[in-house]
């Protein structure tokens, strides 16, 4: 039973990290219908930024909590700047082009950013400092649920509550939903659609950056390539839940995280990806619009 609980929490942790990344995919898709393949790289840049900031701060002897907060904020801000710039440079000029053009532009951006970090930083794996200490009160259950798992779960839950609040109740959140539902009408009520799209990229990038920092601290190492596989997994999760749907992205991520965790624990870690992607294939066959996605209806 302990083993089951351990796997369950491991899966939740994994799933909530996926969710932080998947939200960016799904929000961007919801608003401009683009799969932003460079999103995984935004996450990787977030991990690198927090690594650099955390390393510098720990040299100067900052307390751990301050390091986590400052490194997290720095990563969020820096990744947001990247997300904002990528949209402006690589996608906005192609807004009216056929759908394939921005998709290819996105893949190009992804490759560019990977190689940029490879050249600017290193091709080696870098040891990432453990930013989350072992809490004392967790000691009795430490063999089942680690402190870092708990911290990740709590943090991602808080971030998601914040995001839900933002989208449901704030003016920019409502404008985002309106723009996703009917762009022409959004323009006609006076919404500056370009600004809403930029805001979507900024929010999605900040979430991915926080995810990047948390998982890097959890796993303990980073390199320029981590964005690729995490990006693919999060994208899978977003499709699983129904791309374009925000609760769908969270649900899909948790389902994917748990599936991977149980498959690894009960069968073999060699089959982790096999199970993840088999799940995707099954969903696409039996429910192509995803768990919570709406089937697209076109009025004639």
């Amino acid at each position: 039973m302990d083993y089951f609980i351990e796997l369950f929490f491991g899966g939740l942790t994994r799933g909530s990290i996926y969710a932080l990344i998947a939200l960016g995919y799904t929000m961007v898709y919801g608003i401009i219908g683009l799969i932003n393949f460079a999103h995984g790289e935004i996450y990787m840049i977030g991990a690198f930024t927090s690594f650099i900031v955390a390393t510098v701060l720990s040299i100067y002897g900052f307390p751990l909590l301050a390091i986590v907060v400052i490194a997290g904020l720095a990563a969020a801000v820096w990744s947001s700047a990247y997300g904002y710039t990528i949209e402006k440079l690589a996608y906005r000029p192609l807004r009216k082009a056929p759908r394939l053009a921005p998709l290819i532009s996105a893949i190009g951006m992804s490759i560019f950013l990977q190689n940029y970090v490879l050249l600017a930083q290193t091709s080696d794996f870098l040891p990432f400092p453990a930013l989350i200490p072992d809490f004392e009160f967790m000691e009795p259950v430490a063999h089942i649920v680690g402190s870092s798992d708990l911290a990740i779960l709590v943090l991602t839950t808080l971030v998601m509550i914040g995001l839900t609040f933002l989208i449901k109740f704030t003016k920019i959140g409502k404008a985002m939903r309106a723009t996703a539902q009917d762009k022409t009408m959004a323009v006609l009520v006076g919404i500056n659609v370009d600004r809403v799209i930029s805001a979507t990229f900024v929010i999605g990038s900040a979430l991915a950056a926080i995810g990047g920092m948390l998982i890097a601290s959890h796993i303990g190492q980073i390199n320029f390539y981590i964005g690729f596989i995490a990006g693919i997994k999060a994208f899978t999760a977003a499709v699983l839940g129904g791309i374009g749907s925000i609760p769908g992205a969270v649900l899909g991520s948790l389902v994917l995280g748990l599936t991977e965790s149980f498959a690894t624990g009960y069968i073999s870690s060699d089959y982790e990806d096999v199970f993840a992607f088999s799940l995707l294939v099954l969903i696409l066959i039996f429910k192509p619009s995803g768990l919570l996605g709406k089937a697209e209806t076109k009025k004639v």
Partner: protein, 235 residues
């Protein structure tokens, strides 16, 4: 108030409007009638800044506006209720109305206008927490008009408000259009295929055929014009 001078507009290579002249004075109800595909909606979209103006000028309160972006035009007081209503389907009625007031920050005035649209259409108050997409066609038209009113427009552009609605509802909608015009001295530019109803509430009218304004006269004369009776009134 609004003046279109020699306006031409095109979608890509297909020119839709050819040197159109329209003049609307403050407080008037002006109607633009014409057949399907004559360029009625394009005229409104050109005024709203969605379809670019190829040549000519659009003046609003004496200033040239055809180079402004659509959100700037809403800020100036030009609001459109587009054809097909374009309700945000997954936003509640209240949220749809909030979006109408997107550019405003005067919460007092917004509250006032909210009370006003609920007095025009009490059914919307009952349905305010329901998703816009679940409303009937008539209710959606009411919501679309209310959403535009929430911006407190000086000039309200209405594109086929009667489309697809039952005769009783159409009558109600046209009465409300007249009332909006009276209550706040809102200038109204009404595009309609339902020429008979439109001419009955309008002060003046324009007839558009294949992107060219062919007739412009006061509404009374247009109603008795034999060509128009034959072509648009079915008499």
């Amino acid at each position: 108030m609004l003046e279109l001078r020699n306006v031409s507009a095109a979608y890509g290579n297909i020119q839709v409007l050819h040197n159109i002249d329209i003049e609307i004075n403050s407080g008037e109800i002006i109607t633009l009638i014409g057949a399907n595909g004559a360029g009625k909606s394009t005229t409104l979209m050109a005024i709203s800044g969605i379809v670019p103006v190829r040549s000519g000028k659009i003046l609003f309160e004496g200033k040239s506006i055809h180079t402004l972006s659509p959100d700037k035009l809403v800020a100036q007081g030009i609001c459109q209720v587009p054809e097909g209503r374009h309700i945000f389907p997954a936003l509640t009625v209240q949220e749809n109305l909030d979006m109408g007031a997107f550019l405003r920050n005067d919460s007092e005035g917004i509250k006032e206008d909210l009370d006003y649209v609920f007095s025009l259409f009490p059914i919307l108050a009952e349905r305010r927490s329901q998703d816009g997409g679940t409303l009937s066609g008539g209710e959606q038209q009411m919501l679309a008009m209310s959403r535009a009113l929430m911006a407190r427009p000086k000039l309200l552009l209405l594109d086929e408000p009667s489309m697809g609605l039952a005769p009783l509802i159409i009558k109600q909608i046209f009465e409300i259009v007249k009332k909006i015009n009276k209550d706040h001295n809102t200038t109204i530019f009404l595009v309609e295929q339902n020429a008979n109803q439109a001419l009955h509430i309008a002060d003046r009218g324009y007839v558009i055929e294949n992107g060219v304004i062919t007739i412009s006269d006061n509404a009374e004369n247009l109603l008795h014009n034999q060509d128009i009776q034959k072509a648009y009134l079915g008499i």
